[in-house]
């Protein structure tokens, strides 16, 4: 358990975004982008940031299944839901309390609900293999 725990912070947004993405107006969009940028800089400065980015709308996704003899391609996201992954952060945090506090800040900055999920660790993979 020597490595710092990593978490995926995912933000969900509407499947059919407006012309301003998930935001009601252009000002709101620009403000959210600015706040998110500032939040990302803070993550970077405090040594939490591993990676962060936003995604194009889910309508641009292609789903691939390469398990069969012939690869199957489907236009669109894997799950048909009302909300889709819109962006995410991968962060390092000492524990869940730290990750949750950062997620709350990120949620406020990007104007979205954030799901916090831990990554597997070397230790948990080992336990999985042993079970």
């Amino acid at each position: 358990m020597s490595a710092v725990p990593r978490y995926l912070l995912s933000v969900y947004g509407p499947a059919e975004p407006t012309e301003f993405g998930a935001y009601p107006s252009q000002e709101a969009m620009l403000q959210a982008f600015a706040d998110t940028r500032a939040f990302n800089e803070r993550l970077q400065r405090d040594g939490h940031l591993v990676f962060a980015d936003g995604l194009e709308p889910a309508t641009t996704a292609t789903t691939v299944d390469g398990q069969g003899e012939k690869t199957a391609l489907t236009d669109g996201p894997y799950l048909e839901t009302k909300e889709h992954l819109g962006g995410f952060w991968v962060i390092e945090a000492a524990d869940l309390d730290v990750a949750l506090a950062l997620a709350a800040e990120g949620s406020k900055a990007c104007r979205g609900t954030v799901e916090v999920r831990p990554f597997r660790t070397e230790e948990s993979v080992r336990a999985l293999l042993a079970s």
Partner: protein, 413 residues
């Protein structure tokens, strides 16, 4: 030493030491699973050996040592098993060096079990298992779910704590008030589930009320300055003190007004009153204003100090509810306040207040029971009967149903 006294000694030591042993192991091995199972094994060893060998002079120390040995054995076995799959060498966390003032490990365990990232039912189950030392079958029975369901709930919660790295730590000063409120909510939920058993055949489930009070006492030991901690313990004691008078011999609920006050437990009342007094003095001396548990405890103290329902200081109760409504303007608090208002200003005034809650509380049996009673007192028999019918159909507690049925059937006409 006879078998009986050893058994009693084991029960007592179980109450006193279980949480301490689990908490100590959890810190040392950073693993709740290991802590729980090693502790259970140590108690099983005690149950087997103490009747033969006698109770050791320091039972807590014996259990902690035995449990630590069991935990190390277990980790060794696991690391050997893992070694077969992978050559990776397991590295155990060395216990973190204490940095601040020495904290009771049990307090860390409290905050981990009641972490807000866990669902409420998971918090309750973990708290009863890891702090209360109840077995999985006992907890399953208390919440009327299958044993496998409860076992899965606990396993899943422990797995989340481990995978998500929920910390084993007392929250920082900034967060502690909010987090502590969450802990107290878990304990009070356990108490109410016992006291107001909403399902099943038993009107009061003493196993749960006793356990909640035990947890309340533990929190009081760990956080002696916590006003709401004292308030919750006082509230539970003053409520539980009335338990002997609360259900009649025929299994019917007895309301506060009709209870035999001589049957109330004076020892619990004295203890609860002392806590309420302590808080009143602390608040008067400039401490934090009272929270919801302290106010509810104060309301209960007014009841337990009154010689009869008639001679109760209802104005003070209304004033306390006014205060409570500022903190928690929920319909249930408003309902309780309206019942007290009816005692001060008459049933008509109380009924008018209650009727304002009709929409939000329509599915709540106590709303209809309170209405039925006030309508009866106002001589509106037909409406009262309808309200009793509704209350009976919604009440889950058998003693309460029996009481409501009798009151309905006593209505003239």
């Amino acid at each position: 030493m006879t078998g009986c006294t050893v058994e009693q000694a084991i029960t007592r030591v179980h109450h006193e030491e279980w949480a301490r042993v689990v908490a100590g192991l959890a810190r040392r091995f950073s693993d709740l699973d290991v802590a729980e199972e090693a502790t259970a094994e140590a108690f099983a060893a005690a149950a087997e050996r103490w009747p033969r060998e006698g109770v050791p002079p320091n039972p807590g120390g014996w259990l902690a040592t035995t449990a630590t040995r069991k935990a190390i054995d277990r980790l060794r076995r696991e690391s050997q098993r893992e070694a077969k799959h992978q050559a990776a060498r397991i590295v155990y966390d060395s216990p973190p060096e204490p940095t601040g003032p020495v904290e009771d490990d049990r307090l860390r365990l409290v905050f981990t079990c009641c972490h807000p990232a866990l669902a409420m039912e998971a918090r309750v189950a973990l708290t009863l298992r890891l702090l209360g030392g109840l077995t999985v079958p006992e907890i399953a029975r208390a919440f009327l779910v299958q044993e496998t369901t409860m076992a899965r709930r606990i396993t899943r919660a422990k797995a989340k704590i481990k995978a998500a790295h929920i910390p084993y730590r007392v929250p920082s000063a900034d967060d502690i008030r909010e987090r502590l409120a969450g802990v107290l909510a878990v304990v009070y939920l356990v108490f109410n589930e016992g006291y107001l058993a909403s399902e099943g055949d038993e009107p009061v489930r003493v196993d749960l009320t006793d356990e909640a009070i035990r947890l309340g006492r533990l929190l009081r030991t760990l956080l002696p300055d916590g006003g709401e901690v004292a308030g919750l313990l006082a509230l539970m004691l003053l409520t539980d003190a009335r338990r002997p008078a609360r259900v009649s011999r025929t299994g019917e609920l007895v309301t506060l007004a009709e209870q035999d006050r001589g049957a109330w437990d004076r020892t619990l009342i004295a203890e609860g009153n002392a806590l309420v007094r302590e808080r009143l003095e602390a608040v008067a001396a400039g401490g934090d204003p009272p929270g919801r548990y302290q106010l509810q405890a104060a309301i209960n103290a007014v009841h337990t100090n009154a010689p009869s329902a008639r001679d109760t200081d209802w104005s003070t109760i209304v004033a306390l509810y006014d205060h409570l409504m500022q903190l928690d303007p929920s319909p249930i608090v408003r309902l309780n306040r309206a019942v007290a208002v009816a005692e001060v200003d008459g049933p008509g005034v109380g009924l008018a207040e209650i009727d304002r809650l009709a929409e939000v509380l329509d599915a709540y049996h106590a709303f209809h029971a309170a209405r039925a009673d006030l309508l009866r007192r106002l001589g509106r028999g037909g409406e009262s009967r309808a309200a009793y019918d509704r209350a009976i159909s919604l009440a889950g507690n058998p003693a309460e149903r029996a009481y409501l049925t009798r009151r309905r059937d006593q209505l003239a006409g």
